[in-house]
């Protein structure tokens, strides 16, 4: 089993709701708290497991805004785990989730250097490295209804841009989405083989604007515009 996320860049609206839901759940979760520094001051900062960046793709007029949520990719070649000198970082054999044992971490930052995706952030207060747990305390919680056994970010996403599932199962919805939509990994040249995949924006036929049939109302409007301009 290889649990991970598939993120649809076509439908992500960049609202940061996933990051907020993540913070809200995990600040009382297994690696809690997610400390904030100066939260109401001039320099607010703090620990987040999920960050959303916004990019402009292409040049005007053929450009597009793409919102880019990024959390731990739960890589197959998780070098954050192999470089860890204390054994605090580990990758679970049964589902591929990468976690940090808060009781073993000595806060040397080395794993964050090894992570290309910025998934790991040091908590200055506890002195330990913290990262996305794929809401391991939700997805295996047998006390909550089955449909809620998903990461907080996935449940909260208003655009359904986030999907959670087993990427090892070729017939799982996430695997099918990756197959059908040409899902890809970030920075594949580094060979970390991240589990999380990103679905590119759909290529849609452009809506013609030049040769629209002019209706009578529109003709009148254009005539009025010309007259008023004079």
């Amino acid at each position: 089993m290889r649990l991970g996320l598939v993120i649809d860049l076509d439908t992500c609206v960049g609202c940061h709701a996933c990051a907020v839901a993540c913070k809200e759940w995990n600040t009382s979760g297994t690696t809690a708290p997610l400390t904030d520094y100066d939260p109401y001051g001039a320099k607010p900062s703090g620990v987040w497991f999920n960050r959303i960046r916004h990019f402009e793709i292409g040049d005007y007029p053929y450009n597009k805004t793409v919102n880019f949520p990024m959390s731990c990719m739960h890589c197959e070649n998780a070098e954050c785990v192999t470089v860890c000198p204390t054994g605090a970082s580990y990758k679970r054999a049964e589902d591929g989730i990468v976690l940090v044992d808060q009781n073993k971490c000595m806060g040397c930052n080395y794993c964050s250097w090894a992570c290309p995706y910025g998934a790991r952030e040091l908590d200055r207060v506890s002195g330990t490295m913290k990262k996305c747990t794929l809401c391991i305390d939700r997805i295996y919680d047998m006390e909550i209804p089955e449909e809620e056994r998903q990461p907080a970010c996935v449940l909260t996403c208003p655009a359904h841009a986030r999907m959670y599932g087993d990427l090892d199962d070729p017939e799982s919805p996430v695997s099918r989405a990756v197959r059908d939509r040409g899902g890809y990994q970030l920075m594949p040249e580094l060979n970390y083989n991240p589990t999380n995949h990103y679905l590119p924006p759909r290529v849609l036929a452009p809506i013609p604007t030049e040769e629209l049939k002019k209706k009578a109302v529109r003709k009148v409007k254009e005539w009025v515009n010309r007259v008023v301009e004079r």
Partner: protein, 312 residues
Amino acid sequence: MHPALAVIFLTLFSGGGFGIMALTAIINDFQIDGGLNPLQTMIAVILSLVFVSIGMLSSTAHLANPKNAWRAFTRWRTSWLAREGVFAVLYYPFAFAYLIWVFFTAGTQDTVGLILANLAGLIGLITIFCQGMIYAVLRTIRQWNTALVPANFYVMGLAIGATILAAERMIMGAPAPTLVGIALGLLVAAAVMKGIYYFWISRPNGPTIRTATGFNRFTVRILEQGHTFGTFLTEEFGHTLPSAKARNIKFMMYIFAFIIPVAALVIGILTAQMAFPWIAVISVVFGIGVERWLFFVEAQHVINLYHGRQQC
């Protein structure tokens, strides 16, 4: 990268300390310039231990949660950082044993003494290799992901060690022509190695913002980083150095790390003035400290691509 003083001191001082020990062993092996007498040997080993200890202690200052530092010796099978820790600790008993042996028997060059000295020197050299590999294995940082990094650490550590040993001999009034020659050779080699390194990293060829986002056929620009102030990621990885400033600092670094020590050692051996060996030592440690600062501040982690950098 954030140039943390703790890590700069770790690589600078422990590299120099292991360099002193390795060269002490070699000098006594081959009786270069007659070898070091017991007093000189003890001073050299004590200097080595002090340097290594400064490095190790300052490295713990880098830890946010040092109470778990003892666990850092456990994952030596995969982690170069753990291997470095294991070998650095293993260095102490051998160096101390040699120090005690020399103190009680004055046997700097007898069989037991040489075995202890060479083992300590060898463990020191292995530790320098592990230290270099800590950085060289990171595929996320192009400027570090090269075999030149451990090679540079070696030649710099040995250059510091050779300069200190040559200076020690000169200050103590013993003949040191070959030691000065070794120091000059290592300083020149270090300068050349650093030049090769700077040539190697000069042209960006790492991942780009396009492969980072997957939009390989389009120009990609950052619109918003998604946070109002800095994050751990911008604090740790966001440092850059304008190229003009970097050039000036490298020029200064070359003067302090290589040119002044070479000149001071040559003038020192010609004039037998006590001040010049001191100048050589202070200058080489400061200069290679600046080199280590540049090593960190010039390293560009690929996370910067997600903060708007076009290529690493």
